[in-house]
Symmetry: C2
Subunit: 365 residues, 2 copies
Amino acid sequence: MKLTVDGLDLAEAVATVARAANAKAINPVLEGIKLTATKDTLTLSATDLEIFLQKTIRADIKQQGTVIVPGRLFAEYVRKLDKSSLSITSDGQTVVIKHADNICNFQCLPADEYPSIINLTEEPYFSIKSEALRDLISKTTICTSQDDSRPVLKGVLFELYKDTLTGVALDGFRMAKVEKSIANYKDAGKIIVPARSLDEVRKLLSDDNGEVNVVVENKFLQISVGNTIMATRLIDGEFINYAQIMPKEFTSDAVVEKSHFENAVERAGLLVRSDRVNLVTIKVGDKQVAVSSTNEIGRINEKVAASLTGKDVTIAFNAKYLFDALRNIQNDFIKLQLTGEHSPAIITAAKDGDFTFLVLPVRIS
Amino acid sequence: MKLTVDGLDLAEAVATVARAANAKAINPVLEGIKLTATKDTLTLSATDLEIFLQKTIRADIKQQGTVIVPGRLFAEYVRKLDKSSLSITSDGQTVVIKHADNICNFQCLPADEYPSIINLTEEPYFSIKSEALRDLISKTTICTSQDDSRPVLKGVLFELYKDTLTGVALDGFRMAKVEKSIANYKDAGKIIVPARSLDEVRKLLSDDNGEVNVVVENKFLQISVGNTIMATRLIDGEFINYAQIMPKEFTSDAVVEKSHFENAVERAGLLVRSDRVNLVTIKVGDKQVAVSSTNEIGRINEKVAASLTGKDVTIAFNAKYLFDALRNIQNDFIKLQLTGEHSPAIITAAKDGDFTFLVLPVRIS
């Protein structure tokens, strides 16, 4: 392998793919980044066998070839170089990087040991606006579980039906459901995408990417943005029947200014932040939503003006879950829907929202 | 105690003093912040018995009084309030904070349990330009030791002689010496100031504080900036005779562009970052300073053009120590002075520097 490449292009490409390299992998090959020089491009690939990232940049190829370089070290070294032209050569044993008067040799691994990466067709399962997909990801992934014992809950359910993609995540304490319009839709279907992989997708998407094609094949999902390809293994298994959990009717509705309610929950949560359950009490009635917390150190009482319909009710929540939901809502006013102190609360935008947060209450004696 | 105070003033004052409160103190009083309402001011104080911080702000006092509030909680709550007027009242058992329609009660402690704080005269030992003191602090504290077994090395020696303050810190591997002009100087003397306290002093100082008066009395040092007073206990003991360590003559001089040398050391250091000693080799000769590192993963060779006098020499250092020194130098060119591979290296500005960094070499077999 022998090539010259722009330092800035290389640094950006390495930064993008290096996130998929696993510095703690048992197999040293997975700590590496694969460089493939063909025709007039250099392709960088990395994977931890769940996420696959690949980026292709222009390069002046003098001799084609493939090699695996130490991932973290290569990424850091390239990042620290001045961003002018540099040359890369390799005999398969070592890779040599030359830059101005400086020279660097890294031991490398033969490329045939590298797991074969992405090989899906380009036929999209559906297309979605880049911004919509980002919004769906950021609102749902906050509710995924970290618990290895129920793998499906570490992912987000993508449910496709007619022109709508519904994203759902839940962890036994709260649930997020987001609906987005899609195009070029083929069939109804359900897949579960790892939250970790979706975080990587979100990083690849900017507001101006327009439509994104989503390819789903052989238990993999693949997205291409510019010259970057991200593929992820899907999670096997049956997702929870979320529709069953979602209450259909409510006995109390409160509409509040979102920033006031969010501040009130945040301040009341401070007092109980180190408690096992971050218990805050919500009292709906008397034209307001009162948020309070109490323990042996003190008591915090916050009042938020509200427009109410239905019954007065007092209900308790984990402040963290309420706050997580609220800070992910960009609307000025939100609606809180309740059915007594033992039923889940629903938080939505007061109007025109495409998302629904559900939070289970904490029983208070 | 009964008062109203501006929320923004209070939030700033709390943020300043709370750093001295010790959330892990065995004595719960030291976790607290003392509020003292007198005449038309509210004074906030906190200490961990080493550092004492005190800030006074204007307040509308309806009833004078003193109380100790839970430090961390009070600081966080006040920070999260909208920054309008708020009222504070206390009966000595609880403190009540009212803000718009919101109300908060914290249990508090009687103020007579609080250690008496700062009570030094206002007679300065010397005065120094704010910017000069900040520079001295940031260049010396990087070389202080973290080792409890030699308490004097956890501080910076302040040596006063004629119109000069010399700050010195060392940890057995490197040393920093910085000289600054002072005014209103009384007598020659030596004190050792804890690095932790100096970091607090640095945070208090901005570039436009003009001259700062430094009071030294009864094994305490005190600095006032605006309405904030910082006092610190000094470290007892005899500092190392640093002049003995400092080489007086050299056999090799190299002048290099600082940014080039710094980048070279940083890149070469990447390879050996996880090694026990971050060993980089410096080879002075042939109109250049070559920086290299090597281990089983690879080899990095960097070349920096230099203007040399004296003998060629090859010497090895811990990259971290070299890099720490270099990133604390703002000058465009630096001078590296060496006397063979076993003697300390001296790094200074190529001209007009008021600081000297010394780094011990690592013996290579």
